[in-house]
């Protein structure tokens, strides 16, 4: 079991309720997309899984332990096994890409190794390999303030790939990328999860990316799970319902209109989403 949430509720410090009665259980190696309008609670849900906030109600179990009953030392070890790709990469602007990627292993390295790595990188091949997977190998020694938003987001992904976590969480990991790079990045997250048999949970603003890549899709609205379906069963109606409060247009990575094929047709074509060719 990767994680188990039962009847989770979350009220933020200012009294804002973000989650209500979330029950979810996920076995090892699953790949799950969380979609839903802005403010639905996607980030809050991922932060609970990342053990960075404690739920106000309900029980959490992550990687077979209840994080909030562990000792400080055990909690630290658990956190080192959870990798989080943040929507806005939390990387100091002056830091070099290699250092930012190496920081993924701070939870695993003894302190003296991390300290020595400040003087001379403890590992160069590792970070370069991870950056190469994301088409950024040439930026290894570049300072992060010289990178674009999409490049910085990929540095954040590379850090988590380098961390080799037992649970991979990603909060809108491709929100600043164009469709091609978004595909590349999601693909790498997938192959990492698949080859190491770990669970991947990603929140996504783009419905097409979710349906194209993730076998299981969870729809979240106003802090509640609206649906939890295999991607092939997600219908146009369900999606329009989920985003009802917004413009009625489904958000996609390339801002093109989206057609969702019914389940039977999708099974035949092996395709779930169709993006109509651009009219020139």
């Amino acid at each position: 079991m990767s994680f188990e949430l039962s009847q989770i509720g979350l009220v933020h410090a200012n009294g804002q309720r973000a989650l209500r009665a979330i029950t979810l259980s996920v076995t090892g190696g699953e790949r799950i997309a969380i979609i839903g309008p802005s403010g639905a609670g996607k980030t809050s849900l991922l932060r609970i899984l990342a053990t960075s906030i404690r739920p106000s109600e309900g029980r959490v179990s992550v990687l077979q332990s209840n994080p909030w009953q562990l000792s400080g030392h055990e909690l630290k070890r658990l956190r080192a096994r959870i990798g989080v790709v943040h929507q806005f990469p939390p990387i100091p602007p002056r830091q070099r890409a290699i250092t930012a990627v190496l920081a993924g292993r701070l939870g695993q390295w003894p302190w003296w190794k991390s300290a020595l790595s400040l003087i001379y990188p403890a590992d160069i091949a590792g970070p370069r390999e991870q950056l190469a997977r994301l088409d950024l190998a040439d930026r290894l020694f570049e300072r992060c303030d010289r990178l674009s938003g999409g490049q910085l987001q990929r540095i954040g992904v590379a850090r988590v790939l380098y961390q080799r976590p037992d649970l991979l969480l990603a909060d809108e990991p491709v929100s600043a990328m164009d469709p091609a790079l978004a595909d590349l990045t999601v693909n790498q997250l997938h192959s990492e999860a698949a080859t190491r048999g770990v669970t991947l949970v990603a929140s996504l603003h783009a419905v097409d990316v979710a349906l194209r890549w993730f076998p299981r899709v969870i729809g979240l609205r106003a802090g509640e799970i609206v649906f939890d379906l295999p991607a092939v069963k997600v219908s146009d109606g369900v999606l329009r319902d989920l985003y009802a409060s917004e413009t009625g247009i489904l958000p996609t990575q390339d801002n093109q209109p989206l057609t969702v094929l019914p389940a039977e047709e999708a099974a035949v074509n092996g395709l779930k989403v169709v993006v109509p060719p651009r009219v020139i």
């Binding site: 400080g72 630290k76 956190r79 959870i82 943040h86 920081a103 701070l106 991390s114 400040l118």
Partner: protein, 283 residues
Amino acid sequence: MMSALPSALPPTAPLRDPAALSRAGWTLAALLVLWPLLHIAQFRPGDLFDARNLKVMGNFVGQFFPPNTSPEFLGFAFKATLETLAMATAGIALAMLLAVPLGLALSHSLSISRIGPGPGRGLGEVIRAATRFVLLVLRGIPEIVWALLLVRAFGLGPAAGVLAVAVTYGGMLGKVYSEILESGDTRPARALLESGSGRLMAFFYGLLPGSAQELASYTVYRWECAVRASVIMGFVGAGGLGQLMDQSMKMLNGGEVSSILIIFLLLVLLADAISVAIRRLLA
């Protein structure tokens, strides 16, 4: 049509700054508080221009000219300058040794138990409160008092000055370090703590890159202050330029005093240059 513009504004937005009244109120309140304080401090700027006072001050300043440039005195002054620089530098180095762990302990942005909040929250708050108190005592007692105390232990000479600077400035640096670490972008450090990193490494990998410049320039500024503080401490026998100045003043030798003052200006200039260089290096 120009006249259509104002009506295009939403009806709720007034055409006057709604914050103006409260701003005026605060300004007035500040003046009302300041006025009695100036009275208590017996601040009477008119006295400055009283003919008799002008003459007395003029005579005092007049004694300072010309500065003493005799090789013998400059030799003394050079040795005292080195002593002062050594005192300030050693003092600040020791102060940093004290301030870095205290500042890191105090800073909320490096608190692991706040995440969640998790285990050890109570202990963390107790440690932070104790640290805050220690820093308060260290910097709350003026360096001159520490110097007077330490001169009794170490005898006359720079050692007492060094420790007095270390103690007081350790307190100041620790407090300001922790505030600098909280005022920048704390998300990188927090993200590292959330992925199992220790506090010290979260500081080096998450906080230091963003705050190194500010930490360095504040430390250099404090070094400059320590150079000046060493004068005062010299007056109570802690050596350096201050002691030399004390002797010159007692002997009413204005030329020597003004030479020493010029050396001070040069030292402050030096501190400024160091600060600029460090900031450029870290940029």
